[in-house]
Symmetry: C2
Subunit: 294 residues, 2 copies
């Protein structure tokens, strides 16, 4: 991957509001592996310098996407230890490390999904918001269990539509609703299951805007609110306060009028007290407050 | 207005999900006045019978829109007392009664708006959901006061767009948001101000879907949640539980897939404990629980 292709990827990464945090992280690791194998370098030192730089650049595009930052940081640390290798060995090894981390991420999602499936149980109705690849995997694992889905549109990108094709293919009875109807439909659900872009050290969930409203409604109606969040999604205390990305209001399609602007903040914060359980690779921590103590 | 025109109006009334409760009520009273003046009748008895029937038919189209039901019931009662008049006098009088009720409704909206204006105060940011003609009137009265507006899209009909042209014309700085962002923007507001389709005897607010979520967020963030509701919007205890109309899911534009359906329930219920104050023609009842005791 040469300089221009990498620059194009960074631009695409910055603007991508469609893919979830886990998927984006693996995309970056794929680019990391490709850079390791094919990036311009004369010797091991220049290769390691290039990979360090590209790892940092990718993380800098999406500082609020914790798994992307965390997995790339782990990869950079591992790559920095290859400095005594021959160039071709270092290339191969750095690529393999990135691929291993992709697999680690996939395994984490698979394990989270397996724990979520147990937690949801059979013959249940699950309401979800946004389009989490982990939640989709849970539906996949539950498709023979009589599960039913309630999926929000997730305006303005209609992310919910991304889920529908798969849910339909798996013959899961699915109801699509507007975000406005979340309060009406949450009472028809046995639980709410969402993914997360990142998790604050205190258990606050950063996820697509609207998640907080859904959590408030679930809490008010006594419906369990579960968050799928593999450990890579944890923000370190050093990451500070998250930046909630503004995706640009033009996509709302508002009429162009003086004094009127459209806002499109992509994420909101759901405080820990609204979360019934966080589902990690290890399952669900035994108590509500355990997560941020481990 | 002949039989066919009236039938067309009933159809339009049934399907109208754009106009608020006050506006719909006045449309019906306008049709009532027109029926009084031009409806087919040979004598006073057949006129009164026609008007009684048309009043009942209009109310039956939208039984959950309390002001429409209430104002038409009041008109039918008044009209029933005209039985000793000559035909032309009865026509004129019945029309005048409908026009007086339209004026009463307009005055009520004006008084509610004046009280709301006082409650909001100067230099404030007001968040609203759906498109209430009363809330629009409040913005109109506040336009010289430095008011700012945050308006939701109000999917799927984009009712929020109906507000934008006026707010822009009045040079009120306005931010359009998706419903999903209500939880993010409510903290930027000094208060939330919404209309109501109807009010239950216990103070529960029936309004466009999403209102309940907004009320939960306002409550969680300590932002006052005000409901504009002239007295005609009160449902009598004899009206029972409201029917929450289904507007048809096709408008969501979901892909046509097996096992997938789209839902479009137009209204939700906001319980009284989430309401800071109900604003009536008389102002705000002194305490939260006064409203349903008067």
């Amino acid at each position: 991957m040469d300089k221009n292709d990498f620059r194009d990827f960074l631009k695409q990464l910055t603007e991508d509001r469609v893919h979830g945090a886990s998927e984006l992280s693996r995309q970056c690791l794929q680019i990391a592996a490709d850079s390791a194998l094919h990036g311009p370098a004369r010797d091991p030192a220049s290769l390691l310098s290039l990979l360090e730089e590209r790892g940092l650049q990718m993380a800098a595009q999406r500082p609020s996407v914790a798994p992307l930052v965390n997995l790339l940081a782990r990869w950079r640390l591992q790559v920095s230890e290859l400095k005594d290798m021959a160039l071709d060995d270092a290339r191969w090894q750095a690529a393999q490390l990135a691929i291993d981390l992709m697999q680690l991420s996939r395994n984490a999602v698979r394990d989270v999904a397996a724990h979520a499936r147990e937690l949801v149980g059979e013959q249940k109705t699950v309401l979800t918001h946004s389009a989490s690849s982990t939640v989709l995997e849970v539906f996949h694992q539950l498709k023979e269990s009589g599960v039913r889905a309630i999926v929000t549109e997730s305006r303005p990108l209609q992310l919910g539509h991304r889920m529908l094709a798969k849910l339909s293919e798996w013959a899961i009875p699915t109801t699509l609703i507007t975000e406005a109807q979340m309060g009406l439909f949450v009472r028809q659900a046995d639980c709410v299951l969402v993914g997360a872009d990142s998790l604050m050290p205190d258990g606050t969930v950063i996820n697509n805007a609207g998640t907080y409203l859904l959590a408030l409604a679930a809490h008010d109606q006594g419906v369990p609110f579960y968050v799928c969040c593999e450990s890579f999604k944890r923000r370190g205390p050093d990451m500070g306060q998250p930046v909630l990305d503004e995706g640009g209001g033009a996509i709302l399609g508002a009429p162009d009028l003086p004094h009127v602007t459209a806002a499109n903040v992509c994420f909101d914060l759901t405080p820990a007290w609204l979360v019934t359980a966080w589902i990690t690779e290890q399952g669900t921590p035994p108590g509500r407050h355990e997560l941020h103590l481990d």
